[in-house]
Amino acid sequence: MKNRRILVGIVFGALVVLSAFNTVKFAKPKYFPEPVYNFTLNPISLDKIELGRKLFYDPILSKDSSISCASCHSPFNAFAHTDHDLSHGIHDSIGTRNAPSLVNLAWQKSFMWDGAINHLDVQALAPISHPGEMADDIKNVAHKLSRHQVYTKAFSNIYTDNKITGERILKVMAQFQLSLVSSNSKYDSVRRRQSSFSNQELHGYALFATHCNTCHVEPLFSSYEFANNGLAIDPTLNDYGRYKVTKKSSDSLLFKIPTLRNLKYSYPYMHDGRFDKLRDVLNHYDHGIVTSETISPILKEGISLSSKQKTDLIAFLLTLNDKEFVFNKKHSFPSIR
């Protein structure tokens, strides 16, 4: 009897130690600001990240098992959607916006181009329920998962009562998305004094600091605020951005400022994917701005750039590409087990 108790004690102790190892601290790059995400309500563990990853790549989340999160957020495009200006979902339905890159989400205050979603945990509900994206609902998703041994096993490894709930599905998915931290671009290695910019990149950096850093604040390369950057309204979409959420006229045509990290992979650009090339984007700021009442004050006059300046600025922007992030096996399609 006594021996058995000791044995139970040892096993219990070992489990505690193991679970402590399994819980990991969110690794914040030193020069990044404090994350917005509250990790105390959803402590990171490797098991949860892995389960979230499995769900992220599994089309089971959609009504007819045709669309996964990765359908529009491909790892090789820095988790954005390439080749399409507007992303498409179930039954080839075309959406109204370009799927944004999923990167450094722990620092974002709101989600979607219009900020309609207020927390990363509840973000996945939107594509799961949207009739043109996954066309399902979280209750049915929980039901479907509970009929698959792979998932009942994976959830019971983490949660002792075996239940697959909406809360748990969304929290593990949030954990995988939180693990998508991009901080290994050339820019980052310069910040860590491991390499240095070329002269051209330095010129571009100076131009960036003068003209872009107000909205695309480094090191995240976005303030994650909303702004009207002078895009002419597309009459086929009539998308007024943040206005749809707040119904305030002062929010008309405001969209969330996207990060500039990984631009090489995340084209096309803007909320409706209207620009394919970085030079098109710079030409827009140079001479394409359409002014309206809500135009960002710093863009009223446009950003006048010579051809050489544009080339230098692009050279700097390309230092924000994080190849290691894009090809990181930890984020890619999970191996079938």
């Binding site: 309609a116 927390h119 509900l125 939107a126 949207h130 209750k139 709930t165 809360e167 969304l170």
Partner: protein, 226 residues
């Protein structure tokens, strides 16, 4: 092993000595009787059927005179389809209390802090997917005067942000325990519908001024059963 159990019991009883389990019961009524879902009623000469009635109760406080004591913060989803949800066991301060103060809905802080489980789990169909926030009250049904598809009316009342915060404070005065040891609060749903012209207003599914107004109306039909 036994000693540990006794110690735990002791600890438990000490820490809860000022508290006792009570039951708060919600009785949804239509024309003076307990409401039956999917039953046809006649209201102002028109047939009406209620097919769904769900709402959140939170932040319950017991009151005596000017004194209020909070119950441990909990969120209760009352769902007429699930009879068990109509009775809410609450651990509250000991003694006889004459009033209750609670929120009809989910507060704004909880609404911006991510996903929660149990009664707040999004699988309960009380969370908006396309724009974050809880549906505080969901009432659906049918009446031939409603011009919507299949004559269906849908009131999904929610919104946590100014100026469309639909959460309502409900104050129930002069309650007493009934013979079964329950505090019963009645909700006269017919009175809620008397304030709405279902031939003109029948769909609310996003935060708005009207969502706030109807939430207020709904909160006004809560009362202590005399």
């Amino acid at each position: 092993m036994k000693k540990v159990a006794i110690f735990c019991c002791l600890l438990f009883s000490i820490s809860f000595s000022n508290l006792q389990a009570q039951v708060l019961k919600f009785d949804l009524q239509f024309q003076g009787k307990s409401l039956e879902l999917d039953k046809e009623y006649i209201l102002n000469g028109n047939p009406i059927t209620i097919s769904k009635c769900k709402f959140y109760i939170s932040n319950i406080q017991f009151g005596h005179g000017r004194k209020f004591q909070a119950v441990k913060k909990m969120y209760h989803l009352i769902d007429l389809e699930k009879p068990a949800s109509l009775s809410t066991p609450i651990i509250g301060p000991k003694g006889y209390w004459v009033s209750f103060l609670f929120d009809l809905g989910v507060d704004s802080i909880r609404s911006v802090s991510g996903v929660y489980g149990n009664d707040l789990d999004p699988t309960n169909g009380m969370y908006w997917a396309w724009q974050s926030g809880y549906i505080n009250t969901k009432i659906e049904g049918y009446t031939p005067i409603c011009p919507a598809r299949k004559n269906k009316f849908q009131f999904h009342l929610g919104g946590y942000a100014y100026p469309n915060n639909s959460l309502q404070k409900v104050n129930i005065e002069s309650t007493t325990l009934n013979k079964k040891g329950q505090y019963v609060i009645t909700i006269a749903l017919d009175k809620f519908f008397e304030s709405i012209d279902l031939s003109k207003e029948y769909e609310i599914m996003s935060p708005s001024k009207r969502a706030v107004a109807l939430s207020k109306t709904f909160s006004s039909v809560f009362q202590y059963e005399k």
